[in-house]
């Protein structure tokens, strides 16, 4: 059967997927509730992140500039989200239509990260009513192997955590001039992120009786529907998204949400670990080691380490 992105799944494969799921197997060797391993590559220049979810590869760039705030929200900055589905990922993602998947993914991203209040927008205020930080998150899907939605949200979140904006201070003769400091002058500042929401999608089979988390390419195409739950490790449900497919009972939805929360706990641990090791690497990169020549040591003088 043809999928929305023009990719093909034979009826042999579709029948096998269902048969395997009934026995608790998935075609890539996973269990029904196993999320694929996530690989993070956080950029060294604090500008974004790349995420590999199985073979789905997503890259996000974050930029920030000073702008005037919107009229009624004078003390809040803003974050805007853009998703681009590259034809590299799937050839039918070309042109303005982009296979119809892009607006849905962007909407999911906005609900997951903006509407859940993950990023503190008040912390982006520089001068109330005059200047705020306007952060732009550009997500590019480079390679699609199922579950683009979750990969996009994951990558945008990782990028927002890895991003550093320049430090600002107020100066000038009357203290109202905004000075933006370069990275060499003052350490750049991370964004204030309140909590880590993760988007977790389930492919539905047999009218919702069988679920498979983080669907692969062929599972995405031959399932009977999708349910996405955006949750964090605290068990807070930020969004539930069901746009298509077979109807679900409340029990089935709750079952998915519970599975999503336990998945979110694992994902949170992994993401925190990735951020921490990235932090250590960042600091190590910036430490300038000063080797002391032997004769200076013999002179028993204190040599300042820069």
């Amino acid at each position: 059967m043809p999928g929305p992105t023009g990719s093909l799944v034979s009826s042999n494969e579709a029948q096998f997927i269902l048969k395997a799921l009934k026995e608790g197997h998935r075609v890539d060797g996973r269990q029904p509730l196993d999320f694929r391993a996530v690989k993070y590559k956080l950029s060294e220049d604090d500008s974004g992140a790349e995420v590999l979810l199985g073979r789905t590869r997503v890259f996000t760039a974050v930029t920030a500039e000073l702008a005037a705030p919107f009229g009624d929200r004078g003390n809040e900055g803003r974050v805007s989200y853009h998703v681009e589905l590259s034809p590299l990922a799937v050839p039918t993602f070309e042109g303005a239509r982009a296979g119809g998947a892009s607006p849905e993914v962007t909407a999911l991203l906005e609900r997951a990260l903006r509407d859940s209040g993950a990023v503190d927008t008040e912390a982006l205020c520089v001068v109330a009513g005059r200047k705020v930080w306007s952060v732009r998150v550009d997500v590019h899907v480079l390679s699609a192997d199922g579950n683009i939605g979750d990969a996009v949200v994951l990558c945008a979140l990782a990028a927002l955590l890895a991003f550093r904006r320049p430090a600002v201070s107020l100066g000038g003769s009357d203290g109202s001039q905004i000075i933006v400091h370069s990275k060499d002058e003052k350490e750049s500042v991370p964004l204030s992120v309140h909590h880590l929401p993760f988007s977790i999608t389930f492919a539905l089979f047999e009218g919702g009786q069988l679920i498979a988390v983080d669907p692969g390419r062929s599972e995405d195409i031959c399932c009977e529907g999708h349910l996405t739950a955006v949750v964090n490790a605290h068990g807070e449900v930020c969004a539930v998204h069901k746009a298509d497919g077979c109807p679900l009972s409340t029990d089935q939805i709750m079952r998915c949400i519970r599975a999503a929360v336990s998945t979110a706990e694992n994902l949170t641990t992994q993401l925190r670990a990735a951020i921490e090791s990235h932090e250590r690497a960042r600091i190590a990169q910036r430490v300038r080691r000063h080797t002391v020549p032997q004769d200076a040591l013999n002179g028993a003088q204190q040599v300042p380490v820069s």
Binding site: L8, V9, S10, N12, E13, F16, K19, A20, E23, G29
Partner: protein, 245 residues
């Protein structure tokens, strides 16, 4: 100077990029150039990135990782039926265009006795006509008109690999990965030179294991492939033992 000597002196085993000269055409003797190479005047030039290989003394070709299949006459492919147009099926063989499989290109097929192929079915066929500017044509019969294993594939699980990995799976002697797996499992395997393989085993777990093993074993050395296959078999036996307890 024989070609083999010329190639092994210069570029055998070397990685070349499109446009690189691989060989100068010698004055005496014959060379056969295979996929990835093109003659330009008195030179033979690479048209794809890959590793230069020499076989049987006079055939030079490029070994490159490629997912898209370029149809070649005489090769066997695993295709997916997309629809039926008139007197033939439209089959996707993972190439630049779909291929045509005539309804009568099956053993014993007549106008009254049509083959039982529906949209979405997997089919194992032979490439009969493959020309750069034409849609390729397939057949489910060998040159003598017998089925010879071609035809629809029932059940099982298809998997996608690069075309070079598919060729390696088909090479003789049988690759160590398949030999090891066959030692512990019984399964049916059909390898299409278009990068699509089909696995069928009596139980689901074995089918999934073999299909994934084949896909993940690309690029592994002989020793690594043997270890990988053995660990997979051990893992399968362990889960089976747990189930029967």
């Amino acid at each position: 100077m024989t070609v083999k000597k010329a190639a092994s002196l210069e570029s055998e085993g070397k990685v070349v990029l499109p446009g690189d000269e691989v060989l100068r055409i010698p004055e005496h003797g014959q060379i056969r150039i295979g996929p990835g190479l093109q003659q330009q005047g008195s030179k033979i030039v690479a048209t794809r990135p890959g590793v230069v290989r020499v076989a049987a003394g006079s055939k030079v070709w490029l070994d490159s990782r490629q997912r898209r299949y370029v149809p070649a006459e005489g090769e066997s492919v695993v295709g997916v039926v997309i629809d039926r147009m008139g007197e033939s099926f439209n089959v996707d063989i993972n190439g630049p265009s779909t291929a045509a499989l005539p309804l009568l290109a099956f053993e014993g097929a007549t106008r009254r006795n049509r083959p039982n192929l529906r949209t979405g079915d997997l089919v194992y066929a032979r490439v009969v006509v493959a020309h750069r500017d034409m849609e390729p044509e397939l057949s489910c019969m060998d040159v003598h008109g017998t089925a010879a294993g071609f035809g629809p594939l029932e059940g099982g699980l298809p998997e996608s690999v690069t075309t070079s990995h598919a060729r390696r799976l088909l090479s003789q002697p049988t690759p160590v990965l398949l030999r090891t797996l066959a030692g512990g499992l019984s399964f049916e395997l059909v390898v299409g030179q278009n990068g699509r393989v089909w696995v069928n085993a009596p139980d689901t777990a074995a089918t999934v294991a073999v299909a994934n093993a084949i896909q993940q074993s690309e690029g592994l050395s002989e020793k690594q492939a043997a270890t990988f296959a053995q660990e997979l078999l051990n893992g399968l036996q362990a889960t089976r033992a747990v189930k029967t307890e």
